[in-house]
Symmetry: C3
């Protein structure tokens, strides 16, 4: 391969890495925007912990757990290539990864992905989880569970052998986070005041909707790198198709959710519009490289509709997910993974069943893993802050500071 092509590929992958990194800003904005001012510092602290800790863990051993080099034909479950990483012979030349990028770019791109799964959980458990317990959960989940699951498909393990397909992580990233969010929310219980005595849900409005909106736009931008980089080279045809399917699904997801919620609730609900965009993005992620633009629009619209009903369902189950993470990442993650068997160039009943098996196996593993980690934490350190702390806010109790020291607040 000539140096120009190798260099252009690597430039694209490095910038995709930068965009995926920027998604953490988007998640942070989204999560604090949709929650209350009194817990803002706590959420930001968790997010900063996830990014920094996640990257260090992935460097120390996550990358080696996720890409352990299963032998050909080995339906691998688990293998560990040792602590720390060093570039292999030829890892900086076009011989590595078909010249799509260097070994170091590979590590950093994957490292930026790794932290995402924990960030998804962070939003769902916001405003009531003990930060120490969350930090331990993050370390184990990002350090072990995420890379083990990733190895099954992207690392060349047994799901890959079976033909399971997940282009950029509807299942491997989003539902891995979403399942843990579901388990965590169940174990934690709802925030005080979320459900009335009659069991009806009360809206607890977010304190900074402009930031939440900016968060979604930054996430959309970041998805240019998340999906576009998952081509693993700058192949002009495939990368540009992926950006088109990704953006159209995002737009269609927003529209689907906005129209559905307007019909159902007679309200131009911005939050639903935003979560619809995210749902469309998560939905297209498993098959962004397989779909025609028309199929991307359909997948997006259906994801947007699913968001509206998903949020209602989660309320009905008396689960309290302040940012809608379960609807966005779990429900649309499953939808997107199954859609690979329904639309696009791999569609077919066999593929659909394989997708379903993948969803179920990974779901079971994540639920059990998250259940064990969080269950142990619940019976030891405890998962939930005290009632007083929850009412007064985690910021003052855990961090001794206000997010907005100069502003007067409403009682809430």
């Amino acid at each position: 391969m000539d140096a120009g092509l190798f260099t252009a590929n690597n430039v694209w992958m490095m910038l995709a890495t930068a965009l995926v990194f920027f998604m953490h800003t988007g998640f942070a904005f989204l999560e604090i925007g949709l929650t209350r001012q009194k817990n803002t510092i706590n959420i930001l602290f968790k997010n900063i912990f996830i990014i920094t800790g996640g990257l260090l863990l992935y460097y120390a051993f996550g990358f080696n757990l996720m890409y352990p080099g299963f032998e050909d034909g080995d339906a691998g479950f688990l293998k560990f290539a040792g602590f720390g990483i060093a570039a292999p012979e030829g890892g900086m030349t076009p011989d590595y990864a078909d010249g799509g990028y260097t070994w170091w770019t590979d590590f950093l791109f994957q490292g930026m992905f790794a932290a995402t799964a924990a960030t998804i959980v962070s939003g769902a458990v916001a405003e009531r989880i003990k930060i120490g317990s969350f930090m331990i959960f993050t370390i184990v989940y990002v350090g072990l569970v995420y890379p083990i699951v990733g190895a099954w498909k992207w690392g060349g393990g047994f799901l890959d052998s079976w033909g399971f397909y997940d282009f950029a992580g509807s299942t491997l990233v989003h539902s891995v986070g979403g399942w843990a969010a579901l388990v965590a929310v169940t174990l934690l219980g709802a925030r005080i005041g979320k459900f009335g005595k009659d069991g009806k849900p009360n809206a607890i409005p977010g304190h900074n909707i402009p930031m939440a909106t900016a968060g979604v736009l930054i996430l959309w931008l970041g998805w240019f790198g998340f999906n576009g980089g998952s081509v693993l080279s700058a192949d002009p045809e495939l990368t540009s198709l992926v950006l088109v399917t990704t953006s159209l699904a995002a737009a269609a997801g927003g529209f689907g959710a906005m129209i559905t919620s307007t019909i159902l609730y007679k309200n131009l609900d911005l939050t639903m519009f935003l979560n619809g965009i995210l749902g469309g993005l998560v939905g297209i992620t498993a098959g962004a490289d397989l779909m025609s633009p028309n199929e991307a629009v359909i997948i997006g619209v259906l994801a947007g509709i699913l968001i509206v009903f998903g949020v209602a369902l989660i309320d009905k189950l008396k689960l309290d997910d302040p940012v809608g993470a379960i609807a966005v990442h779990l429900i649309c993650g499953i939808w997107g993974t199954l859609a690979v068997g329904i639309f696009g160039s791999k569609a077919g009943i066999d593929q659909l069943l394989t997708q379903l098996y993948g969803v179920l196996i990974i779901g079971a593993f994540c639920v059990v893993s998250a259940g064990i980690i969080l269950g142990v934490l619940k019976t030891t350190l405890g998962l939930r802050v005290s009632r007083d702390e929850e009412l007064e806010g985690l910021d003052i109790h855990e961090h001794g500071m206000d997010a907005y020291a100069d502003f007067r607040m409403n009682q809430h």
Copy 2:
């Protein structure tokens, strides 16, 4: 063309596309920052609607209306290549567009441009327009008017045959939005309280100047893609020149406005500084590839000065444009288009006249189109919210939510 060059070109164009997409975050921040807290959700909702709807419309038919494939020598006005798009034979190879990008990148880059025109209008009509009417206006203006005008020049139509030049859209994007803003503001009337009984304008201060500032910086960043991508390849000489002229014009525009407003009003006015930057950016856009850096500085300074007098003029005309969109996008859009005939490698009296004809023809078409669309809406659905709604804020009335639920607000 070798694969390395084609790939590098396409990488640049995809990232330019991402940067133009990010401009919508900049516009959103700018518009809410310069208006009142009580209408924030409404503005954000409009912006999200424009991005998602604009992209879907451009996919459904806008792209085919803007690039319909006029025959050579055909001084085309209007042609429609049909609904939906599919990549043409060879559209993903270096044979397409001289290897500057793929067909899908082409579509997405242009699609991100399309929504901009409506966003410009959104700022000018903020805080009093009925959202339903604005949504319909957006659909027609972005879906039909913008691509028809675009076809006249970028689609190879009659203005292109005449030699009219507009590199990245001082006229085709910015003044297309600016003219509609002018018409809309005239039909809507001023916000309650904007002009006193004596006719003197009252300042209605924006509620979040940090966000407005961030918006301008993001827009400047986005202009790296807006102008840099308009080279339609990564040609090193031309793209790097364009980034230099663009950034120098932005800086000079800011300086021009800051110094002018400080001399006139004895006040270090941040908003004027910011709008000067935007004026410089809009001003350089028509000829960013034709100008020397010195000429870019001159064009920018003059754009900055124009901003200060333009804002004063609009006040004097009793027009109420909360964000200064008309001064920035219309006045500086015209200035930049004419500047192509005054400075740079195409300067000359013939070119200047051609530029003037282009400005006038497009202006007339936009004013008439916007007038018809908005006039029909005014006499049917109505354009303006009720007095009560305007006073209490559009957020509660149209969207049932607050932008900042936990903060106490001043009466305003």
Copy 3:
């Protein structure tokens, strides 16, 4: 060199330029987030002035002062290549700069760096400096001091001849700003109320910690361009290594500071976590291309620990640096420069001594220069606003506007 490689290189360098530009948004967010609401407009105005003015000055003469073309073997101190710049013969071809970028990209990348030094000062002097004096200081410091120092190493001057190494500017950018910040803070004195009658420091909490957090994340993102672009081409091996060392040092810096401050103060201090990230970034900057990832982690952790003790030391010296700029940019800038002699491929006692000489010589020059400029300003225009203005806020006095017109504020 083939066109593909040249184009890919230039694309990388242009996007690195865009990322460095975006850092100014990060600095603006960080500075206003960590200070009080009443001085927000003032800080933003200063930042916008620095970006626009800095770029224009660098165009007018800074670039020619920094890269004057010292003769080979000439241990140059000062040379000026004249006002204004024009691309040299061949400046747009692969013959220039080994095909790493075009002359225009070179100028713009360096121009975006230039403004950074003044921005560092801006944070330290916030909330009490007279804006006119600060503007004059900026012009002289960015226009003269920064490029003269830069010429000594990057321009091929005497420090370069000696073998002093500073990859991307731990000393040439960060400590140049940091020394001036130290001088300015000393000459200005502390904000009213910062130190009690007993001399004990009082925390003056920042008014918008979400913005400060976003600022740090944007700065980290920008460092992809700051360090990644300092390779001066898109060389796949070197750029990807630099991104890895940069990101690992950032993560490790955050961790080092977070754990140290938690042990010392029993508080999960988000601000310290954030400044630790910045410290890690500044610390790796001098040798990002020389270090292994393990060494990057060590440099980062130590930078993070230094931040915690550095902030305490500055408090003990009764210096008032509202954003921690001296600890981040000066202390970690020195640390990173010395680390080149301790770790990585250039480590050795000779290199360490050379690094130390460079730090001391540049430090002396910056302290003297800043002392003269600020000393003259202090005795003529004055450096500090009146007591009334400081108490009521600079926004109302200097700019006649509020940052958040619709929000109620706490007395503070």
